[in-house]
Symmetry: C2
Subunit: 119 residues, 2 copies
DNA sequence: CATCAATATTGACAGCCGTCGATTCCGGGG
DNA sequence: CCCCGGAATCGACGGCTGTCAATATTGATG
């Protein structure tokens, strides 16, 4: 029932930042598949806004009720947050009536390093 | 006919790196829409591999013939490269029979800064 | 000009995806 | 125990998207 925990992507990607910068060597097929899931998760305007709202919120964490006003219905917001969670970009935690989402800094930093200014 | 030049996204995003780091403040709707196009472009495994192959190629530039072997048909490769171009992530240039793609470093660096290690 | 090699475009099609309304699940109070 | 509010799930639907085969375009070369 309560599958608040998700996929192995997080374990793999978070623990091992995954890959060398894109400018250094081509991605392997498996790496490309795992990373594409994350980029795809950020590839929707609403989801990107939700992610930025969580990331910029006090302590890098926000209650759903704080970020719900993005112009789509409540089920859609929930759907998008689930996608972000499945991609390993955020985690969720229930506290009483509310559910709080927070960013996974290692993963986003890893993505940044992938694109980042090379040497 | 020859619309090798594309959308204003590049002009806007490349010239002005766009936004503060995601962890600092929420994206505006227009910013989110423009950025989502780029993330979406990287959100396909084949496209991500193509991008990494271009980025890691000698001089950050590659002939289509050099990166064509990604397991999909030639038209599909062409289609994906067009998407990357439309997203402002790469530019293309014809030299004789061949077409060369190169990354737009300012844009990718801008994306990296967006996700980057915050203060 | 005819032909060939390298890319791009077109048209078609199946599957995915964002969206919603309705419903369900989960905790907290009366 | 019942009800209420916050959030997730379900089912449906239209539009987008990745893919291919076929064809067109473009430039080099004989």
């Amino acid at each position: 029932m309560s599958n608040l925990r998700e996929l192995p992507i997080l374990e793999t990607a978070a623990t091992a930042p995954c890959c060398a910068p894109l400018a250094r060597e081509p991605l392997t097929v498996p790496d490309a598949e795992r990373l594409a899931v994350m980029f795809k998760a950020l590839g929707d305007p609403v989801r990107l806004r939700l992610f930025s709202m969580v990331a910029s919120h006090e302590g890098g964490e926000a209650c759903v009720c704080d970020i719900q006003d993005v112009g789509v219905s409540q089920p859609t917001v929930s759907h998008h947050l689930k996608k972000l969670r499945e991609a390993g970009l955020v985690t969720s935690e229930r506290r009483g009536t509310w559910v709080f989402y927070k960013v996974v800094p290692e993963v986003t930093a890893s993505l940044a390093g992938l694109l980042g200014q090379e040497g």
